[in-house]
């Protein structure tokens, strides 16, 4: 067990000197989580918008399920993706297990319900305001969805960043499907878990600091977007 002070000193040094291992891990984390965020937005935003403006019989049940899925346990998602991608699984032939792609798939599954459920609420609120005017103008469904997504863009950016925050901070799914392989699938959270269990606190602390910095930056970005939107009366 290292001395805490020494561990902090080493951690700062690793960050300050832009240690190549550290940079590689951060780079992969961002690549995986940003990709998952983009994929989940491509699926979740239109899903949320369609759900926000449609009325059908089992709509409430779908919304309840979607909201419940926001709290999907990452290890369960990891396990399901593992079963799908393992050699004996239905998609084993793809050979994706223990690859960054598998991690992107797992994180996308994890955060798509978050993006869909939150965007559903945002779009539904805006649609309540626009619905009568859109009906009066005979706006086609596709155009209405596009207009709602565009006009709610600042709120939806916050939704996307919430998804990213969840993805970049989770460890359960990526450690199961990625395997935490050095120079291949090691990301910040899995590295922190490993280095802590090994007792090498300096790298774990350095990564923890970066992770916290990213969380702060994401929240600052959210606040910045909101302030811009409020200034322009777009929310």
């Amino acid at each position: 067990m290292q001395d805490f002070g020494e561990a902090f000193r080493l951690a700062f040094h690793l960050v300050w000197s832009a240690n190549p291992d550290l940079i590689e891990i951060i780079g992969l984390s961002l690549q995986v989580s940003l990709s998952a965020m983009v994929i989940s937005c491509l699926i979740g935003l239109p899903t949320g918008a369609i759900l926000g403006i449609s009325r059908f019989r089992s709509r409430n049940a779908v919304i309840i399920i979607l909201n419940a899925m926001m709290g999907l346990p990452p290890v369960v998602v990891g396990l399901c993706v593992y079963l799908m991608l393992s050699r004996a699984g239905p998609m084993g032939w793809l050979g994706l297990l223990y690859s960054p792609t598998a991690m992107i798939i797992a994180q996308s599954i994890l955060i798509t319900p978050i993006v869909a459920a939150l965007s559903r609420q945002v779009i539904e609120d805006l649609h309540t305001e626009y619905a009568e005017q859109f009906r009066s103008l005979c706006v086609p469904v596709g155009t209405a969805i596009g207009a709602l997504l565009w006009d709610a863009r600042y709120s939806l950016l916050t939704v996307a960043l919430a998804g990213f925050g969840r993805a970049v901070a989770e460890v359960g799914a990526v450690i199961i499907v990625g395997g935490n392989i050095e120079h291949l699938t090691r990301v910040m959270t899995t590295a922190i878990a490993l280095e802590t269990s090994k007792g090498d606190l300096s790298l774990a602390l350095a990564l923890g600091m970066v992770l916290l910095a990213i969380a702060l930056a994401v929240n600052a970005a959210v606040m910045g977007f909101r302030m811009t939107a409020v200034r322009n009366a777009y929310v």
Binding site: R55, E129, S136, L137, C138, A144, A147, Y234
Partner: protein, 255 residues
């Protein structure tokens, strides 16, 4: 599901081909509208003809707003029939109409983008057209301002300009000048009169008797879901036939 229609026909110039069949006259037969057993519109028969500005007046709760929503097809009648140019309400009739709601609904975009949105819907969007439309309502200097930053009067001018940008044959206005100052009221009245002079049929709801006197060609006076009186404006204001209209014009409370 979201109730919409798809503009499928386009001309060689790319503009949406609109149904050219006239939507007027409008025939309303034995129209009733009830909500939770409460009668809002009570067996109304009505005929609306081309041109002219029809003013709908009456106390709160008379059913004026519900009436225009039924005419525009935003609500479905409990019984009775509305026929535009001999046809029931359909998307083609609604595309020939435009409606300005009492509370302006502005897209969360710039002033010019609000106009461009409806022009694009009708496949006739161009920067020159947007500029011309904004200029016609005195908003060209605010083209890039976020629409929701506009004052009440400017917002209402923008929504009227946006409604007229669809080039309607008929324009519904539901108390467009409620709680606006006299200068804003005048600006909006000028826009409406200029549209009427171009042949757009106007159906205008107001509580402002002075405004009705200034603008109306004919007046429909409603009370408790019924049309109590429908007459030429001059006749309505000089010799109202019903007691309710006389009381209303005299400033007495009509219950």
């Amino acid at each position: 599901m979201f109730d919409t229609a798809i503009i499928s026909n386009t001309s060689s110039t790319g503009e949406a081909v609109r149904d050219v069949r006239p939507i007027l006259p409008c025939e309303v037969t034995d129209l009733c509208f009830e909500v939770h057993g409460r009668t809002i519109i009570d067996h109304i028969d009505l005929q609306l003809t081309e041109g002219s500005l029809t003013m709908i007046m009456g106390p709160n709760g008379a059913g004026k707003s519900v009436m225009v929503r039924l005419l525009h097809g935003m609500l479905f009648p409990t019984s009775g029939e509305i026929r535009w140019g001999g046809r029931p309400i359909e998307d083609s009739t609604r595309k020939s109409q435009a409606m300005v709601f009492q509370k302006p609904v502005l897209l969360r975009r710039s002033v010019s983008a609000n106009i461009a949105f409806v022009l694009a819907l009708r496949r006739k969007n161009s920067p020159e057209r947007v500029e011309k439309i904004l200029d016609s309502v005195g908003l060209s200097g605010l083209a890039n301002t976020p629409a929701r930053r506009l004052s009440g009067g400017e917002s209402q001018r923008l929504v009227i300009a946006r409604a007229l940008a669809t080039d309607p044959d008929l324009l519904f206005l539901d108390e467009p000048t409620a709680s606006l100052d006299p200068a804003s009221v005048l600006a909006i009245e000028n826009i409406v009169m200029s549209a009427r002079d171009r042949g757009v049929k106007i159906i205008f709801i107001t509580h402002d008797i002075g405004q009705a006197r200034r603008l109306a060609d004919e007046v429909i006076f409603m009370h408790r879901g019924k049309i109590v009186e429908k007459s030429e404006a001059s006749q309505f204001f000089d010799k109202p036939a019903s007691k309710e209209a006389r009381d209303y014009l005299a400033g007495r409370i009509v219950l």
